[in-house]
């Protein structure tokens, strides 16, 4: 089954005629990802890598039945692009663009939630269900199908976790990158229940980091997860978060201690295998699978 994307997805690239869009299109088609078209204003009627380009998202959806989109659009145009895709009825969105203004992220997040859609990002490395569909900044050759789910903010941390798991013979059902920005469309707490309900996922690796309180929201969903969650919290040794006077501490939200060490301790207190080094993830997964 996997989560968010699979063989039955019908995928668009928004910004397909740019260099990033073109290279994604070629890679997706080469890897068997069900890419059905692209969107680029005033480029309707062209094709890229053999898939049709449409002037806008509504036409693309009408013509192709698309339900997912990878958006690779300049940061100052990203808000309009995401709202356009959501208005056209797209239900799974990856916004790859970084440096999106936080108030734009707030608006797209709110609209996506109101429409019942899933927005990954801004600044998301995407989502991949290996062997089925790849809307991610991940090379198909580096990822194998398997029964571990991964949810992370960072792209490059997932590369290392995938490597560490592969050494022990594990592959992934789906890998979901939420995005590295302060405000993101989808959170750990949104993704865990999807993995919880996925019969192709045995265990979830959650990759956390300092700052904000999204990891604590994830811990609050654990009582409803009837499969193990292994937490890897990065940056245990990073210099303390730069606090902007006394406002900085509450600026992040109301989660309390947002350091990596506090988050690691919280996952352990919730009964999870939790580690602070990427080289320990594989072993922690083995321990979690062999408990009981």
């Amino acid at each position: 089954m996997a989560i968010l994307v699979d063989k039955t997805s019908r995928i668009l690239i928004q910004g397909i005629t740019g260099s990033t869009g073109r290279s994604y299109a070629q890679r997706m088609l080469a890897g068997g990802t069900p890419l059905v078209g692209g969107v680029a204003p005033d480029r309707g009627g062209q094709d890229v890598a053999g898939v049709p380009v449409f002037d806008n998202a509504a036409e693309a959806v009408a013509a192709t039945g698309a339900n997912a989109v990878l958006t690779v659009i300049r940061s100052d145009l990203a808000l309009d692009a995401v709202l356009e895709s959501l208005s056209a009825g797209i239900t799974t969105l990856v916004l790859y663009t970084e440096n999106v203004p936080v108030h734009d992220a707030i608006k797209m997040r709110a609209y996506a939630r109101a429409k019942g859609a899933r927005l990954l990002g801004p600044n998301s490395a995407g989502v991949i269900s290996p062997g089925k569909a790849n809307l991610a900044d991940l090379n198909d050759t580096n990822v194998r199908p398997g029964r571990i789910g991964i949810v992370s903010k960072s792209g490059t941390l997932t590369y290392e976790v995938i490597d560490d798991l592969q050494k022990l013979g594990f592959g992934e059902s789906s890998v979901v990158c939420l995005g590295g920005d302060p405000v993101i469309g989808t959170t750990y707490a949104d993704i865990l229940p999807l993995f919880g309900a996925d019969d192709e996922t045995d265990l979830v690796v959650l990759i956390g980091e300092p700052g904000g309180g999204l990891e604590y929201q994830a811990i609050a969903t654990l009582p409803d997860m009837h499969k193990p969650v292994v937490a890897y919290i990065a940056a245990q040794n990073a210099p303390p978060e730069k606090r902007m006077g006394h406002a900085g501490a509450i600026h992040g939200g109301h989660a309390g201690d947002t350091t990596a060490t506090a988050k690691l301790a919280a996952f352990r207190a919730a009964g999870c295998e939790a580690v602070g080094r990427v080289t320990e993830v594989g072993a922690a997964v083995q321990r979690a699978l062999h408990r009981d």
């Binding site: 707030i106 960072s154 941390l157």
Partner: protein, 373 residues
């Protein structure tokens, strides 16, 4: 994120329609400022009052003398950027108000507290009232009323307080701010609400909507020089230890963790942040910077690409070996993983550099070469 000084923040409040005390920078005081004033160091450091950065003067002449003293001495280790002098007010009460982006719930949020003028971190969380604002409907009267009522305000003050909340929210959105905090918001003895301080954080990513908005970079010599090369450098410890160059924030954090966990000292880390697109010369420049400024025992390159070409990194390393005096292959630990690994390995082997592809092994080797295990 761009931090504003108090006087810059107050200009934003004034623009939003919120009253601030009459005042100006000490070298160009407004002519109509007279009587008792407050002299305030303009610094980015916290704890300004306790460190002697806020003083009182009976008139402007005395204030300027004080300002001259305050201006030359660092405060809590931070340089004093300027000194602001403003009218002193008769205080009846001090409130706390703020508008901010609450990243955990992903929406703008208003905060109010009846106990202003103190360190907000010292106030019990249940004394601070929060109102999240759904951006699809914006700030509505019921939200404002809830906050005003919770402070037990009535009559004209309640109306004026509500106006300030509306102005604060509008400014947060229109200025693309992450935080606008007024602490304290003064209620004067003659019944006016006036912002006595301002903390403002602006979003650098929204600069395209705000001509002239630009972050003033801060940091160590190494950090500032990194920024000029288009990479993100952070000094993480004493010099002469391990220094590591990575692609991606996540990989950077993980490498720092691993080296420290193995008992190594990390002097600094660099995140390439797409600098590979500028070609091998840029990579060589980054290695030169690390070498010259941090004088590390070991320079580690820990690069894991999905699609970019590792040969660019390998060529940059070779260029650095040829150009940087004192840099030798035995001080390099190279973990390059991804596309064109074989080509990168060949390029490096011709210059007597070994290349690893495993993250953990590379970190162990770096710490060992630095003589720390």
């Amino acid at each position: 994120m761009i931090r504003l000084l108090e006087h810059e923040g107050k200009a934003i409040l004034r623009q939003a329609g919120i009253a601030v005390p009459l005042g100006g920078l000490y070298r160009s005081l407004p002519s109509d400022l007279s009587g008792p004033v407050v002299v305030k160091a303009q610094v980015f450091a916290g704890g300004r009052g306790k460190a002697g950065g806020i003083r009182f003067a009976d008139d402007c002449a005395v204030a300027v003398e004080m300002a001259n003293e305050i201006a030359i001495r660092p405060l809590n280790g931070q340089p004093v950027e300027d000194v602001y002098v403003e009218q002193r007010l008769d205080i009846a009460h001090e409130f706390y108000v703020a508008a901010l982006v609450d990243r955990d719930i992903g929406v703008p949020t208003l905060l109010v507290c009846a106990e202003g003028g103190v360190d907000i971190e010292d106030v019990a969380p249940n004394r601070i009232l929060r109102q999240a604002v759904d951006p699809l409907i914006g700030l509505q009267p019921f939200m404002v009323n809830r906050l005003v009522r919770a402070l037990a305000l009535e009559g004209p003050i309640a109306t004026a307080f509500g106006d300030i909340l509306r102005q604060l929210y509008a400014a947060l959105v229109s200025q693309d701010a992450e935080l606008i905090e007024i602490n304290p918001l003064l209620l004067t003895k003659d019944g006016a609400l006036i912002a006595a301080d301002a903390k403002v954080l602006l979003d650098e990513d929204a600069a395209f909507r705000h001509p002239g908005r630009r972050a003033v970079p801060t940091g160590t010599e190494f950090e500032l020089a990194s920024r000029k090369l288009g990479v993100i450098g952070v000094e993480t410890g004493p010099k002469h230890g391990v220094t590591a160059i990575m692609n991606g924030a996540g990989l950077t954090m993980a490498t720092l963790d691993e080296v420290v966990a193995l008992g190594g000292t990390m002097s600094g880390v660099v995140e390439l942040h797409g600098a590979t697109a500028h070609g091998p010369d840029r990579i060589a420049d980054v290695i030169r910077l690390v070498h010259d400024v941090l004088d590390p025992a070991v320079i580690m390159l820990n690069v894991h690409f999905q699609f970019r070409n590792l040969a660019t990194i390998a060529e940059g390393i070779v260029a650095a070996l040829q150009r940087v005096p004192g840099l030798t292959a035995d001080r390099l630990v190279l973990r390059l993983r991804g596309e064109k690994e074989d080509e990168a390995r060949r390029i490096l082997a011709a210059h007597h550099c070994d290349m690893l592809s495993d993250f953990g092994e590379a970190c162990v080797l770096a710490v060992r070469r630095a003589g720390q295990i």
